[in-house]
């Protein structure tokens, strides 16, 4: 495939104290600029896959190619990837601005690419893009969950990553904030053309955001396809019940409520 950004080839992982495999020969090609949602219940291996892609965990076997280059053993800092976690993992001793600018300042100093002021200005622009410029001087503990998650996103964005990885970033947020965050992330994808891999257990979220969805069960891929492909032709009984039936239940309950309204 000509437009392949990240090629995941037969990645296998088994944790030391576990009898079953966490990932069983998982392969997928992620296209440049694509939004890939990885959907599955807890324990299906999706977070393990994300950590292996990010370079936080070595796979037992298999290969990762970024733009055709083998990065299987490259350290996390050399992969040009950013990661956003469910629990934000902000630096609580730093202000919002420092959180965003800190790593970029060090990088700029190392390769003499920008001055401190320039980095800070870029950080401020990002904060403005994400609608949290007014909190620049605040400490994370005074922010709401949605605001903290925007800071975490800005902190990875400033290093201009090729791929952004999301580990259930919206799971700790209330419904309204969750919907806002979706828009924020989709806007970023559009504006910067960043490839995104988004882990979730929420079918609706996956369908609302993703270009393609990869459904996982028990360390394996059940199906990869566009939302309409998956709804149109679920690969097996599991995909049908976990994804399609679940969505239909939601739609049914919603239309019932709306129907009663009119």
């Amino acid at each position: 495939m000509s437009n392949c950004k990240l090629s995941i080839q037969s990645i296998t992982k088994q944790y030391k104290n576990s009898k079953s495999v966490a990932l069983d020969a998982v392969s997928v090609d992620v296209q440049a600029g694509e939004f890939l949602a990885v959907l599955g219940p807890s324990g299906c291996g999706k977070t393990t896959l994300l950590r292996i892609i990010a370079g936080l965990l070595p796979p037992d076997s298999g290969k990762l190619l970024l733009d055709g280059k083998d990065i299987t053993t490259a350290p996390a800092s050399k992969r040009s990837m950013g990661i956003v976690f469910q629990n934000y993992a902000l630096f609580e001793n730093m202000t919002v601005l420092e959180n965003v600018a800190y790593a970029a300042k060090l990088k700029a100093r190392r390769d003499k690419s920008a001055t401190k002021a320039e980095v800070e200005q870029r950080a401020m622009e990002l904060l403005a893009d994400l609608g949290i410029a007014e909190y620049a001087k605040k400490y994370p503990s005074s922010l709401s969950g949605g605001q903290m998650q925007r800071v975490a996103i800005a902190r990875t964005l400033i290093l201009k990553p090729d791929i952004m990885l999301f580990d259930e970033p919206a799971s700790a947020l209330d419904v309204a904030t969750r919907l806002q965050l979706r828009t924020v992330i989709k806007d970023i994808q559009e504006k910067f053309g960043t490839t995104m891999i988004y882990i979730t257990h929420d079918q609706e979220e996956a369908f609302a955001m993703a270009d393609r969805i990869m459904v996982m069960e028990n360390a394996r891929i059940s199906q990869i396809g566009t939302p309409s492909e998956i709804v149109g032709a679920p690969a097996n009984e599991y995909v049908k019940s976990f994804v399609v039936d679940n969505l239909q239940t939601k739609i049914a309950s919603l239309s019932k409520a709306l129907g009663a309204d009119t």
Binding site: Q9, S10, T12, A25, R51, A54, G55, L56, P58, P59, D60, S61, G62, K63, T72, T73, P75, A76, S77, R79, M81, G82, I83, F85, N87, Y88, A89, L90, F91, E92, N93, M94, Y102, A103, L106, K107, Y139, S141, R155, T156, L159
Partner: protein
């Protein structure tokens, strides 16, 4: 196609962990092993056949058991008053109730003598006194200085008990007594056992109180050990007594280890607001007042004796006693104590911080071993550690210097501050390292710029714990001090009932220094909390 992936080498972390492990081995484990190997069968025979061995063993067990029972009951009641009843001035009560922790055990023993002894204040005022020598005095003195420790343990547990369980019980119509039996007690069982065991270990290994109050013939194992090792310089025999004292301490350690559930991230959904029932409030005020008097009595006595000329002959105010202490060796020994306490606190806090980082944030099989090693010193009584140091380091150049006192104090007190930091690291976001790696921030930089700044409060707490304990300890140091490196706490045993105004002065000096440290740390914590 599956190619095996080589793991990136982690040699730096491995070397760092082994270095810390080696340091802990050298200051905690090796001296104990060396002591054990130097005990001869003759030593054991001498001890077991000694004329007072049987009665001392019995006394130690009885006095300690009774003191432990009293301490746990009083500590629990005190904790109930300050956590479950809406009394005013909780902060002040807390400060007063823990004050006795800031002076050496031997001071409490001396205070009882001054109050109830044959020439004591009570005798002077009322013409009669209670028999303070022997069991009564030893139990009373032990309760006085062990009570604050048990109180802190239990108050902490009660404070963090989740009250939504009680609301659920109420909604379900479960009666008060049943709720207490089925909810409160099971929740408290482990903390109560842990408090009982650590009180027992603390009391049975203390020699300060019984040394002052044993009177004629009321020996305990700890006073026999003191006699053998310090008065007679028979270290082999002392070590045998040490092994006997090591046993309850190890049991307490294991009980504590098993009692602690992994990851005490118990999240308080609803804290207790404190009962507002007038009856409870009256009872709580009365009980707290009683306990406060009990806590403040020795301190009040010391202040009184330290500033009057000669009780009961001349009650005019004077600064002579302070002058006397400073004219003698007091200034030098106080300086020694301050140097020892400051260096121990710095070294211990740094060692605790680094060790906790390795065990809490760089998990591997090696870090589990390191964790055990770091908490082992809790199981070793100060007296035992002290005698093991004599038997191991007596011929080295550090013997008789301040360095060995810093070493022994660090080894003696490292476990608690280590655990403070370990728990604090455990509560920090588990993804910080992952974020650091993807952002290109190395371990050292993350440690320096993220973990360290977030740990200031805990570090201050660790520093204060190490400092205060080094200031007041009389256990390990008593075997290692001479006239040049002596800390001020050891001056107390130089004096006796007839010049107890000097004991008062020394106790007050230690108390004041420790209070200043505690206040300073509270300030630092408040400032670092405000910054976020």
């Amino acid at each position: 196609m599956t190619a095996a992936i080589k793991k990136r080498p982690q040699s730096g972390a491995w070397v760092a962990k082994w270095t810390v492990a080696a340091v802990l081995l050298c200051v905690v484990i090796l001296p104990i092993i060396s002591m054990l190997t130097k005990i001869t069968p003759a030593d054991i025979a001498d001890v077991v056949k000694g004329p007072n061995f049987g009665s001392a063993l019995w006394n130690s067990l009885c006095y300690t058991a009774i003191a432990t029972l009293i301490v746990v009951v009083l500590a629990y009641l005190m904790a109930l008053c300050t956590t479950r009843v809406a009394i005013k001035g909780k902060k002040l009560w807390n400060v007063i109730l823990i004050l006795p922790m800031l002076i050496p055990s031997i001071s409490h023993g001396m205070a009882l003598l001054i109050l109830f002894g044959q020439n004591g204040i009570v005798k002077n005022l009322f013409g009669n006194t209670i028999p303070i020598y022997g069991g009564t005095g030893i139990v009373l003195g032990s309760v006085m200085y062990a009570l604050p420790v048990a109180y802190i343990m239990l108050a902490d547990v009660l404070r963090y008990e989740d009250m939504s369980v009680y609301e659920a019980a109420e909604v379900l119509g479960i009666g008060k007594l049943r709720t207490f039996l089925k909810v409160s007690l099971p929740y408290l069982r482990k903390p109560l056992i842990a408090a009982a065991f650590s009180t027992f270990a603390m009391v049975v290994t203390d020699y300060g109180v019984p040394l002052m109050l044993s009177g004629a013939g009321n020996y305990t194992i700890s006073t026999l050990m003191y006699q053998a090792a310090i008065d007679q310089q028979k270290f082999g025999r002392g070590a045998v007594y040490g092994v006997i004292l090591l046993l309850p301490a190890i049991v307490a350690f294991l009980a504590d280890l098993l009692g602690k559930e992994r990851g005490t991230g118990s999240y308080v959904k609803k804290a207790h607001e404190g009962s507002n029932k007038p009856l409870f409030k009256v009872l709580a005020y009365a009980f707290c007042t009683l306990m406060a008097i009990f806590a403040l009595l020795p301190i009040a006595v010391f202040i009184f004796l330290a500033i009057v000329k000669r009780y009961p002959i001349d009650l005019s105010l004077t600064a002579d006693h302070f002058a006397y202490i400073f004219r003698g060796q007091g200034a030098k020994y106080l300086t020694n104590s301050l140097v020892i306490a400051l260096v121990t606190a710095s070294v211990g806090a740094a060692l605790g911080f680094i060790t906790a980082y390795m065990t809490a944030r760089m998990r591997s099989p090696l870090s589990r071993g390191l964790h055990l090693l770091a908490i082992t010193s809790m199981a070793i009584p100060g007296m035992v550690l002290g005698i093991s140091y004599v038997m191991t380091f007596a011929s080295t150049p550090i013997f008789g210097t301040l360095i060995i006192l810093v070493m022994v104090n660090t080894a003696h007190f490292i476990s608690s501050p280590y655990l403070m930091m370990y728990n604090s690291f455990g509560k920090m976001n588990e993804n910080l390292e992952a974020v650091g790696q993807t952002l290109g921030l190395g371990r050292v930089r993350m440690l320096w710029r993220v973990f360290l700044p977030q740990s200031f409060g805990t570090l201050a707490e660790m520093f204060s714990y190490l400092f205060v304990n080094s200031m007041m300890t009389i256990s390990a140091v008593s075997f290692l001090a001479n006239s040049t490196n002596k800390p001020i706490s050891l001056m107390i045993s130089q004096f006796n009932e007839h010049n107890n105004e000097y004991v008062a002065v020394v106790s007050i000096l230690i108390l004041v220094v420790n209070m200043i440290m505690k206040l300073a740390v509270e300030q630092i914590k408040a400032i670092s909390a405000r910054r976020r």
